[in-house]
Amino acid sequence: MSPRRNFLRILAVGSAYVATFAAGWLRPLQSLAADWNKAAFEAIVLADALRNIGAAASTESDQIQLKAPEIAENGAIVPVEITSKLPGTQTIYIFADKNPQPLVAIFEIEAGLEPFISTRIKMGESSKVRVLVKAGGKFYVATQEVKVTIGGCGG
């Protein structure tokens, strides 16, 4: 059977959204404002950001596969793909060490989600992209240097 999307409903801000919210499927969003690690995201120093996610200590692991460019074509849109082969992977954290605020994103891997995330991030300058994985209550880390250039004649 060919996989095919046969039903799609888009909910914009407004009454349609409110109706569906009441129906319960958006319940996980109810406590959103509280669920944002302000201290970690607003930390300017990498060590503070790491401490605020509870990862003051972490072990390097080759079980974290990080795919990122060698030289980013454009620092505003750097594709990053992470696969964690660590058993019991709970959370994936993405940092760009030299960003004004190093912590970029946190992905909690709930039951059923493959420990795989692909997204696009902003990098202010050449820096290590740092991925932390919380697995079995412990933190593991992998990094990759990504160069960011400012285009010359690129326009």
């Binding site: 454009n74 400012i150 690129g154």
Partner: protein
């Protein structure tokens, strides 16, 4: 391939061009030009198939091409293309749409642009025919340098020709004269930097200038508009203008006869290559 031999090709081409010009002889035909360019690049990039040239500088960097492929999987500028689709499909006051102005409703037509129109002794670009459509249906024309109108209509309209092989025709004296104007401009040094298009994009294609890999002329016109950084829409003429500004030359206007003729010559070089509109560039 030694630097001297590579430079020799440009020298030969330019010298031949100038010599013929001064002697009043007929210049090389468009097919001869296209063949010369391809020979030059095959010399420089012996292992790269011609089909890859549509990717320009990206064909010379696996790292860069990989980012392109990743982003093109689900382009961030999809909403701009969708806005273009809405504009394309929106009926004019008289009830007609853009599709009614083009063969096949606009499918697989972009590869035939620009074409020479004997009635007006001018070259016609796809963007000019968009405006002709508006004009013929009692609507206001778009400005050639306006991203919000001409930009997005072509961001969608040109995708209707994705996959089409470029097939630009230069037949007859009138067409040839416009083509030759375009070629002349291609080889004309301009601006404070005194560079011609040929200076960077022929013998120096593949080399790095200010952190950028210079792309070859063949394949360059096949993939417009582009979205720089994923969100900054640029049409081909906007890019020509920017290049001229980077040479510190006062740029010709988007939609000007000079740029139309340049596009005519430039597009001919990509005959046979597949088109793909609305792509990511850095």
């Amino acid at each position: 391939m030694s630097l001297r031999r590579r430079k020799g090709w440009v020298g030969l081409l330019v010298a031949a061009f100038l010599a013929a010009n001064m002697a009043g002889q007929a210049l090389a035909s468009p097919e001869e030009d296209r063949a010369s360019f391809i020979t030059l690049y095959r010399d420089q990039f012996p292992t790269l198939p011609l089909e890859n040239y549509v990717n320009g500088a990206l064909m010379l960097s696996i790292d860069a091409k990989s980012q392109f492929d990743s982003i093109m999987e689900f382009p961030p500028f999809q909403d701009d293309i969708d806005r273009g689709a809405a504009l394309w499909e929106k009926p004019f006051r008289n009830g007609k749409t853009f599709a009614s102005c083009f063969a096949n409703g606009g499918r697989n037509v972009a590869g035939n642009y620009p074409y020479y129109a004997p009635a007006v002794d001018r070259v016609v670009t796809f963007e000019m025919d968009i405006n002709r459509c508006l004009r013929d249906n009692g609507e206001a024309e778009f400005k050639f340098n306006d991203k919000a109108t001409m930009g997005i209509i072509t961001a969608y309209g040109r995708t209707l020709s994705d996959g089409m092989r470029v097939d630009v025709r230069v037949q007859g004296a009138g067409a040839l004269a416009q083509y030759e104007q375009g070629r002349k401009l291609y080889f004309t040094r301009m601006g404070q930097y005194n560079f011609a298009c040929a200076s960077c994009h022929m013998a120096n294609a593949g080399k790095i200038l200010r952190t950028e890999i210079l792309s070859p002329a063949v394949g360059q016109t096949t993939h417009w508009p582009v979205f720089r950084g994923g969100d900054n829409l640029n049409t081909l003429h906007m890019r020509y203008r920017r290049c001229m500004e980077q040479m510190r030359a006062a740029p010709f206007a988007a939609g000007s006869e000079e740029l139309n003729n340049l596009e005519y010559f430039h597009s001919y070089l990509s005959n046979g290559l597949p088109m793909r509109a609305s792509v990511y560039r850095k």
